[in-house]
Symmetry: C2
Subunit: 265 residues, 2 copies
């Protein structure tokens, strides 16, 4: 089955412009190496029913692997897990394995002198209260475990918003969950053409995409005045050799036809 | 009527990790100065029905002012206006005023020696074909006009993805459209507290939010090891003086209670 990925970014700080979301681009680029396709990204505020509805919407739009970022911490505005519970009508309960992670992390941080007390306070305990059926993902950078939940044919993976924690959990816990889902091959290339005008390029792209099917060409202009247009060529398929050959052929053809165009201009 | 803003970011280059979307944060920060509230942001691929469905979804989620970014250019992958037409079942047609803008821009770029020919080719003409009822927004940086459409009680504003063009159209065309919608007052402050542990802060934030209602406090941790927690305090209301006073009061109270906490720790 094809893996269709959705990303749900959770946090008022993003929608109010205080923080630039760089987490999702990082996740997307890790997933690209596995040939996974992100079909939609949604960013919502810290509101439980809004988070719940956004999750259900991603599933109804065809996503069967959903990453959430943000909202796993100890404060009142961290509502992601309540949003997940809301989406699937699940009770919340203390998860022993999650509590072990939280306990170990605060003990460790205390022993290293980073925090004053290792006591299991209510705000810390909150991070071990998960929707029923969910499992924690170890976090050795911060206090909040990641969370994975398999439900209704989809897998939901909740990661903290702090980039260093998100990256550690992804690299050390999530990657091994994803390996069984990998299929097919993917290749891409980015080329720069010495044209200044995207409208001149449009018929050339159309011709090349017609001549070599199965390749996607995306053009991105720089502001006028700056030179060059960036072309991104990508292809998916069954064999790595085949898709790489196709992308190379398209890149060469685009360069050649643009040179012809410049000579004729 | 409250203005509820939705942002629809359109482009495979974003969902495939090639480009980091900085446009929406820029737009959000411009809107914040007008006291406008962004309730949702969605990022979708360059597919007409997907764009159409995402627009309808933002409206059904309560957005009455929607910005789209990207997909207004001359190439095959620029599908935003077809997506808008799809959402509201509108026919597409050549818009004379848009054609004037496009013609003027290419004539000007040709005269300045930036492009080889000012001819009105099909790809250039495409940028003047708008959904019925839509009007163009002048663009003096690039070739593609912005587009504004009032429909079903909502206003849709389509901006190009090239940041310099988007910014020019926003500053010179969009701001005057928005001024009639401004209402209320807004204040915010960002403070840093010398704590390393967000879980210690959680009950303090809860207390302060209970003591001074109508203020939102969002805490953002840095990775453990780095010192300090960033707290963002914001409030909306009718009078500017009142909301600023409230935000100041909360900031002072948070600092004081954290100092008490550190002494007791």
């Amino acid at each position: 089955m094809t893996t269709n990925i959705g990303i749900l970014v959770i946090g008022n700080e993003i929608l109010d412009g205080l923080v630039l979301d760089t987490n999702s681009q990082w996740i997307i680029n890790q997933l690209k190496a596995l040939n996974f396709h992100v079909i939609q990204k949604t960013t919502v505020r810290d509101e439980i029913p809004v988070i719940g509805r956004a999750l259900r919407r991603l599933i109804s739009n065809g996503c069967n692997l959903i990453f959430t970022t943000g909202g796993l911490g100890p404060t009142h505005d961290d509502k992601t897990l309540l949003g997940v519970a809301n989406a699937f009508d699940l009770p919340m309960g203390l998860n022993d394995q999650a509590l072990e992670i939280v306990t170990r992390q605060y003990t460790d941080l205390h022993q290293r002198g980073v925090i004053g007390s290792a006591e299991m306070t209510e705000p810390r305990r909150k991070m071990a209260i998960l929707p029923k059926g969910a499992n924690p993902l170890d976090n050795r950078v911060g206090g909040a475990p990641g969370v994975v939940l398999d439900i209704e044919g989809a897998q939901i993976i909740c990661l903290p918003g702090v980039p260093g924690e998100l990256m550690w959990i992804f690299d050390n816990q999530v990657l091994q969950l994803l390996k069984s889902k990998v299929e097919g091959a993917f290749a891409e290339d980015v080329i720069y053409l010495p044209l200044r005008d995207e409208s001149t390029l449009a018929p050339i792209i159309d011709d090349v995409m017609r001549d070599i099917p199965g390749v996607y060409i995306k053009s991105m202009v720089k502001p006028y005045g700056e030179s060059g247009i960036r072309l991104w060529i990508s292809a998916g398929g069954q064999s790595q050799e085949e898709v790489e050959e196709k992308v190379n052929r398209v890149a060469n053809l685009l360069v050649k036809r643009c040179e012809d165009q410049l000579i004729n201009d």
